[in-house]
Structures are given as structure tokens and as C-alpha cells.
């Protein structure tokens, strides 16, 4: 395992080394000591390597990730895994606002809670939050799946498009055009697979409710003006 200590190495040097890795590299295990909550750690990775961050990360950790697995052993700041394309990002603590924002693919797992705007404008990513999520999560969520084992804050799924939301706990309120939908077998199967990928065991998918778009605001019409 390659160990990089940010107490005596710059973030720039770390990211440059990670960017230089070829897809077939043998240096597949990395550990980053003393991250100190620095921003933009392990961003723009494009090789199938695993990077463990031994502590807290600042803003945009693992931003635009492709193929890599990034594990944050502490908390993650704003926009963890923002615009991720593929790979896995696992936050063992809590995540701040806009976790997984605009992400197109891959899997984001948050063991703790995620703050406001979790999954905002998500475009295909799968997000599993083992705790609760804050208000205005999944705002304008386009596609992908957001699974929440705890509760969801105000205005969940406001102006949502085709993303699927699964919440086990209470939902404080739903946003415009977001409605509860029937859980059919296909959704239960999907949820089981998502929970399995996130390493969640012993949870009954029957405890979840599914939410998605009523599709009433997909084309602007003046009669709906009050809904906006």
C-alpha cells in the first residue's frame, strides 16, 4: 500500500500522482494520512484504485470520480462525490451539503447523516445514506436512486424528474411535483440490490416508501404557475 502523509506532502502532489496512474496500474491501494479536512482531495481520479482518507475531508472530496474507490474514514465536506461518473465513494462519518450533487453514475454511501441538498440534480448516481438527509434533497433530481434509512427533511424531491427516492423513516414534507408511489416487486428488488451494494444487512425493504415525480410539471403550463 502506498501511504501519502499530507503533513509533509501537498494536496497538489497527491492529486498529481493519482492522476498519473495508468488504468492498469499495480499501485491500486493508497492511504492518505493527516488529510486535515483539506478541500478537493482525490478529485478527478480515473483509474480503478482504492484511496483511503484517514480522517476528515473538506469540500468536493472525490469530485468527478471515475472508476476509483474513495473511502473517507471521517466526515466529508460540501459536495462529496460531486459529478461522480463511476466508482464508489464511501463516507464513514457524516456528509455536508450537496453530497453526490449532479453525479452521473457510481455509488455514494454515507454511513452517517447527509445534510441539505443531498443528491441535488443527480443524473444517474446511486446514493445510500444510512442516517438521515437534510432539507431540499434530490432537488431537480434527474435520474438514479437515493436510498435513505433514516428520515428526510423538508421539500424532498422538489421539481424531481425521473430519479427514484426510497425513504425508510419520516419525510417532513415533499417538494413540488414529488409524490409517494407504489412499491412494486421491481422496486423492492432494486432496493435490495442497492442495500446489498452499500453493505446494509438486516433491513426489510418493506419498511421503505418510494417517492418520485408526478410528472405534472414536465411541460410548463400557466395553470400550474402557483406550483413553482
Amino acid at each position: 500500500m502506498r501511504v501519502v502523509d499530507l503533513a509533509d506532502t501537498t494536496r497538489r502532489a497527491l492529486n498529481a500522482e493519482l492522476h498519473a496512474l495508468a488504468p492498469e496500474t499495480n499501485e491500486t491501494r493508497w492511504r492518505v494520512e493527516n488529510p486535515g479536512g483539506q478541500h478537493a482531495l482525490a478529485v478527478g481520479l480515473k483509474a480503478p484504485v482504492t484511496v483511503e482518507i484517514a480522517g476528515h475531508a473538506g469540500y468536493y472530496c472525490a469530485g468527478m470520480n471515475q472508476l476509483a474507490t474513495v473511502i473517507v474514514e471521517g466526515n466529508a465536506g460540501v459536495g462529496v462525490a460531486e459529478n461522480m461518473m463511476s466508482g464508489v465513494v464511501h463516507v464513514k462519518g457524516d456528509a455536508s451539503q450537496s453530497a453526490g450533487a449532479t453525479a452521473h453514475g457510481g455509488l455514494l454511501v454515507v454511513d452517517g447523516d447527509a445534510s441539505a441538498r443531498c443528491g441535488i440534480s443527480m443524473k444517474g448516481v446511486d446514493i445510500v445514506v444510512k442516517g438521515s438527509i437534510g432539507p431540499r434533497s434530490a432537488f431537480m433530481a434527474q435520474s438514479g436512486n437515493l436510498v435513505v434509512l433514516g428520515d428526510a427533511g423538508d421539500a424532498l424531491g422538489d421539481s424531481i424528474y425521473e430519479a427514484r427516492l426510497f425513504v425508510r423513516g419520516a419525510v417532513k414534507s415533499l417538494g413540488a411535483d414529488c409524490v409517494e408511489k407504489e412499491m412494486r416487486d421491481e422496486h423492492r428488488d432494486l432496493l435490495r440490490r442497492l442495500l446489498g451494494r452499500a453493505g446494509v444487512e438486516g433491513v426489510d425493504v418493506a419498511e421503505f416508501k418510494r417517492f418520485g415525480s408526478a410528472r405534472a410539471l414536465y411541460n410548463f403550463h400557466v395553470d400550474n404557475a402557483a406550483a413553482y
Partner: protein, 443 residues
């Protein structure tokens, strides 16, 4: 007297309730919805036409028109980027999306810009291979919607433009109506075909200048500090916005006035929010000067640039380059009277067509209809754009030589006077024939 012989006054329209206003009231009353259109502000505004160059005479030496060099090149992104951009002429093509424009139009913009030695810019909707392939220098926009945003394209870009706003609608997002959402546009934006695609007005993962600074750091880290990072703002409070963009780490600031076009926005927004570019340049330049970064952080201005005189005036006021959007579309063939009959069938006339959001542009520019789009030959349209850019550059050189300048960037406010008090105050140059700069000097 015979009542038939009494002289009668002509019918008189109200200046306040003019025919256009009356027609808009009737349209609103009939439909219950505001008017959406493309383009920029159409009302008369203080503009570059209100400025004149003084030219050389006894107190200044001119340069020989066809003999002496007047350089036009510009470097952009010299502050932090490892690979700044070097353009042959300081007029760039502004961001316009594939989606709003046809694939052929985007390709033509790339071809024209490349022939002229300048850059073109993506838009809300991502980068197409045709555009990348035909653009020697391509600026990749980073927008609130992040439609089509991916790190592979980010790495292919020559510069990254973080879009905060645009002059036509500062503070507003966008809307691409369902009729323009073809299969390809839908796929690039990760949304179903045929639905309205709303573009957010705020970025999803940062708020305010402190966050923007961290966001710019992230983009630099992802691209290994190679590419210039532009920040684009709509002209509203240019002094503060430029200062905050610089504080956030921008290499280049793009400032777009209210005459700058949009693909689709409410007419009321276009005409009533934001300020003209003429009023925005000097405060922006002042911010750069106060920070000691004028010419180090480059300023690109846009919004109603039409010819080499506009470009020369913008540069004289302190800009490093200008950008064109509407003018470039016209050069490609948009609103050409050759399509007059078809424009009339759409209820308008050539030159006034602005229902770009409806996607029925007979010129094949602002459409996703395959048959209409196929009317635009990207090679010929690109050639027209290159010709137009060459004329703009020659015109600006003509003026600069007359003012005795060996480089367009040597033009300065001292070369200018204003025709109106308003323009004198906004551009901070004297009213012609006086020493008076309203708000700056005594009359």
C-alpha cells in the same frame, strides 16, 4: 365652413402606450402567460454608438493605414494557468448550447472561430464531438445545471468558464422547451425526450464567493492547473462582482451586458434586469485596477458587440477582448431576408425573428429539426463567420492606427469622447467638445 373641409390632426399613437405595448397587452390578455423569446434587450440603450474616437492630428501621430503594424493578439489566462490561451484577434465566440443551436450551427461556430484564430465556447448541454473537433480553441462552460458535464470533456477543453450569470437574465436560469428536446439533446442532458428542461439559476454545490474559491480550486486540481478558468457574470454590480470573481481565483472575467442574447427567457426579464455593457466596463476595469490586476486578470466583455468600432471602443475602455453571440448567428445566416416568406409564415419578419425557443428557425440555426438544421452548411457558414471576424478585426485596426496605436490594447479612454451626457457618465469619458465627465469633473 363645410365640416368636411376642417383640417384634421393625424392619428397619434401614445409614446407610452405605443403599438408594441398595446399588442403585448392584448397578447397577455389572450394567453395569460408572459412572452418568452430569444435574443437580448431590444429597446434603445446607451451604447457604443454614443462614443466617438478622436483620432490623431497635430497633437497625436497616426500610424500608416496599410503599412505600419497594428497588432491584435491577446493572451488569456496568464494569472494561474500553466497553459494560457493565445488568440490572434480579441473577439471570441460566446457560449451557446447544442440544444439551443443545431449541431450544424455549433460546428460552423467552431470552424469560423478556428479560421479566424480565436476561441469558441460550449453552452448549457455539454460538448459535442463535432464542436470539439472543429474548434482549435474551445472554452467549456461549467453551468448550474451541469447538463452534459463530465471530466473527460473537462480535460479536453482549452479553458473552463464558470457561468454565474448572463447579461440577458442576471439572476435567472434557463428553459429549453420540450419541442427542442430531440433524442440526442435528451440523452446529453440525462432527461426524457420532449419535456421542458429547466436550467437552475444557482450552482448546486456552492454558494457565495468563499465557496466559489474552493470550487475553482477543485476544477484546477482536476485539470492539474493547466487550463485558464474564466468566471462569467451578467452585468449588474460589475465593480463588486469582478472584485469577487478575482478574489475567488478567476484567471479571466467575462462580463455580459443586457444586450447579450439568450436562447429563451421572459421578455420582461431581458428588457428590465441588468445594465447595458457600456455602463459596466469602467466599474469592472476599476475593480481590476484597484486590485492591481488590470491586464493580469483579463476582462472579456460582451452584449451588443456588432463591428470593429464596438470592439475598439470596448478595448479602449479597458477590456482585453470582446465576445459575440447574436452577431455570430447572423453571420452564420440567422434572420437572413432570403427566408422572408418563411419568417412571415411564422408571424414575423426577417431581422425580428426571436422565437428561438420554438425551434422552427428557417435558417437552421436555432433548431433541432433535422430538415431545418440540414439547410445550414457548416463549412460555408463557418467561412462567413471567419470573414465577418476578419472584417471586425480590420475595422478595429483601422481605428487604432488612426489613433496612433501599434496594438489594439494600446487604445485607451483618452482616445474617446461621448455624444450624450449619459454615455459620458457611464463610459467616464468627456462629453464631446468639453472636458466634462459627469460625476467626475466640473462642467
Amino acid at each position: 365652413m363645410d365640416s368636411h373641409n376642417i383640417p384634421r390632426t393625424l392619428p397619434r399613437f401614445s409614446a407610452t402606450f405605443d403599438p408594441h405595448t398595446l399588442s403585448e397587452i392584448r397578447r397577455a390578455a389572450a394567453t395569460g402567460i408572459y412572452d418568452i423569446r430569444g435574443g437580448g434587450a431590444k429597446r434603445a440603450l446607451p451604447h457604443f454608438d454614443d462614443l466617438l474616437f478622436l483620432g490623431a492630428s497635430i497633437s497625436r501621430y497616426p500610424l500608416e493605414g496599410y503599412r505600419e503594424k497594428c497588432a491584435t493578439d491577446v493572451w488569456l489566462g496568464t494569472r494561474h494557468a500553466k497553459t494560457p490561451i493565445h488568440l490572434k484577434t480579441p473577439v471570441t465566440i460566446a457560449g451557446m448550447s447544442f440544444g439551443a443551436l443545431s449541431g450544424q450551427a455549433k460546428e460552423a461556430l467552431g470552424r469560423g472561430a478556428s479560421l479566424a484564430g480565436t476561441s469558441t465556447t460550449t453552452g448549457d448541454g455539454g460538448m459535442t464531438p463535432e464542436e470539439r473537433g472543429q474548434s482549435q480553441t474551445l472554452v467549456y462552460q461549467y453551468l448550474p445545471s451541469r447538463y452534459g458535464m463530465n471530466p473527460d470533456d473537462l480535460r479536453k477543453a482549452d479553458a473552463i468558464e464558470v457561468v454565474i450569470g448572463q447579461g440577458a437574465k442576471p439572476g435567472g436560469g434557463g428553459m429549453l422547451l420540450g419541442q427542442k428536446i430531440s433524442d440526442r439533446v435528451a440523452q446529453m442532458r440525462n432527461l426524457p425526450k420532449g419535456i421542458d428542461q429547466r436550467s437552475a439559476c444557482r450552482h448546486p454545490d456552492w454558494t457565495g464567493p468563499d465557496d466559489l474559491e474552493i470550487k475553482i480550486e477543485e476544477l484546477r486540481e482536476i485539470t492539474d492547473w493547466e487550463k485558464p478558468i474564466y468566471v462569467k457574470v451578467g452585468a449588474t454590480r460589475p465593480y463588486y462582482d469582478v472584485a469577487l470573481a478575482v478574489k475567488s481565483g478567476a484567471d479571466v472575467v467575462v462580463l455580459d451586458g443586457m444586450q447579450g442574447g439568450t436562447a429563451a427567457t421572459q421578455d420582461v426579464f431581458i428588457e428590465h434586469v441588468g445594465i447595458p455593457i457600456l455602463a459596466a466596463i469602467r466599474p469592472a476595469v476599476q475593480a481590476l485596477q484597484d486590485l492591481g490586476l488590470h491586464r493580469k486578470v483579463q476582462l472579456i466583455v460582451s452584449g451588443g458587440i456588432r463591428n470593429g468600432a464596438d470592439m475598439a471602443k470596448a478595448l479602449a475602455l479597458g477590456a482585453d477582448a470582446v465576445a459575440i453571440g447574436t452577431a455570430a448567428l447572423v453571420a452564420l445566416g440567422d434572420n437572413d431576408p432570403v427566408h422572408e416568406a418563411e419568417y412571415e409564415a411564422l408571424g414575423t419578419v426577417a431581422g425580428a425573428y426571436d422565437d428561438w425557443h420554438e425551434g422552427r428557425d428557417p435558417a437552421g440555426v436555432t433548431t433541432q429539426d433535422p430538415e431545418l438544421a440540414a439547410r445550414l452548411d457548416p463549412v460555408a457558414a463557418g467561412r462567413r463567420l471567419a470573414n465577418y471576424l476578419a472584417v471586425m478585426t480590420l475595422e478595429a485596426q483601422t481605428i487604432a492606427r488612426a489613433c496612433g496605436k501599434s496594438h489594439l490594447h494600446n487604445l485607451e479612454p483618452e482616445d474617446l469622447v461621448a455624444l450624450t451626457i449619459e454615455a459620458a457618465a457611464m463610459a467616464r469619458v468627456p462629453l464631446a467638445g468639453t472636458d466634462w465627465i459627469p460625476g467626475r469633473t466640473a462642467f
